[in-house]
Amino acid sequence: MTLSEGRIGAVYQVEQVMVKESVARRLEALGVNEKTKITVLNRKRRGASIIRVRGTRLALGKPITDGILVKEAAE
């Protein structure tokens, strides 16, 4: 599933980051890497989300959350 389909409050593990190269590197520099655990804090209907990752909060637009593949993770 993609992050844009995430449930508010659920914890996911990143499987793959499939967005534009420059954005992917930027996300990785911000700590969104493969296997990183992220929590969805808030999400709009279309998919833009706020996530908690490595102790900080990021707001991500839909094109980005569409490109982040995740799987459900244990807390």
Binding site: I50, R54, G55, R57, L58, G61, K62
Partner: protein, 664 residues
């Protein structure tokens, strides 16, 4: 011991407190707020420690040494250049994990690095602990100094470390990558050495070669197809984060306690449906305060002005000053500049409210909340941040567009930012809405703010229809913790704005008032007795046919609008001079002005069109100058200025014509 000046560069993630620390060390009063990307240029200052002079450079925040946006390039160029002796890596201890990524990159540069561990108080509040003995051991034994930039503690220890550390050999290699990568690094280093000679930062260069970094590869091209077979950037990033996880495991105690309050607030403030309405309510509250509290204070200013004007007039008369001189001073300068000063309370409250908004942490949320709407016009929610700043002043708002990643996005944002109603337009609304709209004055004025936002989005929509583009840079912004705004930060912010306003009154508005007085009191034959025979009247009359369809067909109005190009407040000050009203913002002043205007058939509809025109037409010369600087194009800038006049004219004409039909 040499007495060389030590140059220190502040590097760190956005919003980690670099500028607060800079202000604390140098006594500067740069703007500080609680959202990422406030600082967009490098700024220099000086600090002293005992007898040593230390040059401090404040830089825009960056997440990594790979450069994407303008601000990142500025910072990177500065730290990588020769001029920085010591890097102070300012780190937000409350998000240590993410901040350490940049730290690891800085440590690879081979320059002396000092870690300023900021916001330790937040760490403690959250019940977390950082092992300050183990942390340096894992970071090559660099000095780590806990500081609080806001409370101004730890500052002299930090400066001591700078002086002490600038004379020491830099730390050794800090982290070791996996065997495969290290082998490649070694090979690239050797190749670099063979081709370009020994360099202190050869490890850094080798890693950047493996990153396929454009700048480094351009400067030091290498032919190593079997080693540099692809970009290893991703692997390098991942291994850094693996190392950071080790550090966190060892140094962070109780790291799972979370910042509950911020997330609770965000549940509502960034709610998928309520987010936008809440934002609009907050904006409405800002303007409500500006109007009510500002008006409450205004009375005192008016009394002061009246007294001063009378006193000067009396003084000049008893001194036997020439009639023209008395007219210049009383009718020109005091009426023009003084009239503007009576709006100071409203301006003060507006900036106070904006300061709270910016320092609370809500700003970054606005980017998220508005992302959906902005996405429809091909921009990300981040482009809305400069627009919010535009409520204060267009000049810093245009500069803030530097935080946007692409040049196209920047230009589009710059094009629409001037439609956001800046504080200089406030006096125009205050005056004309109270004169013509009575009880509904506040609604009339608020409607202009809303129209400004809608017009900005509408124009962006049209531009996007004409030249469709994909949303290239989707929203990606960090949301800081909410915090109680800091008194010092707010004081600096508001004082700087009030100072700007006073300075403008003393310079631009002062000069504009004098020029206007001359234009209105002279013609080719010398001083005139009747204003309507002056230069100003001739210029105004030439414009009347153009402005008549918009309900603005009075030569005085034309002159007021024209003079408003110098600064929008001048529209009001010129009304004082044009109609010879000494205290325009007082009840009597307003009655006099609305009387004169009303006698010429200038009614409610005309007043609204006038305010609408002021909202939309070309921003002041200061804004135009900034736009030219930021876009590097006169052609584009002038095209924009012309376009905005057309928009203003079209909108005012439409409202006037339709309104006339309805009102009969």
């Amino acid at each position: 011991m040499s007495e060389k000046i030590i140059t220190v560069g502040f590097v760190g993630n956005p919003n980690c407190g670099k500028t607060t620390l800079f202000n604390a060390l140098t006594g500067a009063t740069l703007k500080v707020a609680n959202w990422p990307g406030v600082t967009v240029e490098r700024v220099e200052g000086e600090a002293r420690y005992k007898d040593r002079r230390i040059k401090v450079i404040d830089l825009p925040g960056i997440y990594s040494l790979t450069s994407y946006s303008i601000e990142e390039k500025v910072s990177r160029r500065c730290v990588m250049g020769e001029d920085v002796d010591v890097i102070i890596n300012v780190v937000d201890a409350s998000s240590l994990e993410r901040n350490l990524y940049l730290t690891l990159q800085l440590l690879e540069l081979g320059k002396p690095v000092i870690l300023a561990l900021n916001m330790m108080d937040i760490v403690e509040e959250r019940g977390m602990e950082i092992d300050l003995h183990r942390l340096p051991e894992l970071l090559g034994n660099i000095p780590i100094v806990p500081v609080s930039a806001r409370k101004r503690t730890g500052l002299s220890v930090l400066l001591h470390a700078v002086v002490h550390h600038s004379e020491e050999e830099p730390h050794g290699q800090v982290m070791t990558y996996s065997r495969g990568l290290e082998a490649k690094i070694a090979k690239v280093r050797k190749a670099l050495r063979d081709k370009y000679g020994e360099a202190a930062d050869s490890r850094w260069l080798a890693i950047k070669e493996l990153d396929f970094d454009e700048e480094v590869r351009g400067e030091y091209p290498l032919e190593l197809p079997d080693v540099l077979d692809k970009s290893y950037e991703k692997q390098i990033i991942n291994e850094k984060y693996d190392y950071i996880e080790e550090i966190m495991d060892e140094c962070m105690v109780n790291k799972d306690r979370k910042a509950a309050l911020t997330e609770k607030a965000d549940k509502w403030l960034t709610h998928r449906i309520l987010g936008v309405p809440i934002f609009l309510v907050i904006l409405a509250a800002v303007f409500f305060l500006t109007f009510t509290v500002g008006d409450f204070l205004k009375g005192y200013f008016e009394m002061g002005l009246e007294w001063f004007s009378g006193w000067v007039s009396g003084l000049l008369e008893s001194a036997g000053a020439f009639g023209w001189l008395r007219s210049l001073i009383v009718d020109g300068i005091i009426a023009g500049v003084g009239g503007i000063l009576t709006f100071l309370p409203n301006i003060f409250i507006l900036f106070l409210a904006l300061a709270f908004l910016e320092d609370s942490g809500y700003m970054a949320r606005v980017a998220y909340v508005m992302d959906g709407i902005m996405g429809k016009v091909g921009l990300s929610g981040k482009a809305f941040l400069p627009m919010v700043l535009g409520f204060g002043c267009t000049v810093p708002a245009v500069m803030a567009t530097r935080a946007l990643e692409s040049e196209k996005d920047r230009r589009r944002t710059i094009l629409i930012t001037p439609f956001m109603s800046c504080s200089a337009r406030l006096p125009v609304y205050l005056l004309f809405s109270s004169m013509f709209f009575g009880k509904n004055a506040m609604i009339a004025a608020y409607s202009l703010y809303v129209i400004g936002v809608l017009m900005a989005i509408f124009i962006a929509l049209i531009v996007n229809k004409l030249r469709p583009k994909e949303l290239e840079n989707a929203l990606l912004i960090e949301l800081p913790e909410y915090k109680t705004p800091n008194a010092r930060t707010i004081a600096i912010y508001v004082w700087e704005k009030v100072k700007d306003y006073l300075t403008k009154a003393g310079t631009t508005i002062f000069v504009a008032s004098i020029v206007l007085w001359f234009l209105l009191n002279f013609n080719l034959g010398g001083m005139v007795a009747d204003v309507s025979e002056s230069f100003g009247a001739s210029i105004g009359r030439a414009l009347v046919p153009l402005l008549a369809p918009a309900g603005l067909g009075m030569w005085q109005i034309a002159v007021a609008l024209l003079s408003g190009l110098s600064a929008k407040e001048v529209v009001v000050s010129s009304c004082s001079v044009l109609f010879g009203i000494s205290n325009i913002n007082s009840a009597e002043g307003m009655a006099a002005l609305s009387g004169v205007l009303g006698a010429q058939g200038f009614g409610v509809l005309n007043a609204y069109c006038f305010m609408l025109f002021c909202l939309l037409y070309t921003p002041c010369v200061a804004a135009i100058g900034t736009i030219r600087r930021e876009t590097h194009s006169w052609k584009w800038t002038l095209g924009m200025a012309l376009f905005q006049i057309l928009v203003a004219w079209a909108a005012a004409t439409a409202v006037f014509q339709v309104g006339s039909l309805i009102l009969g």
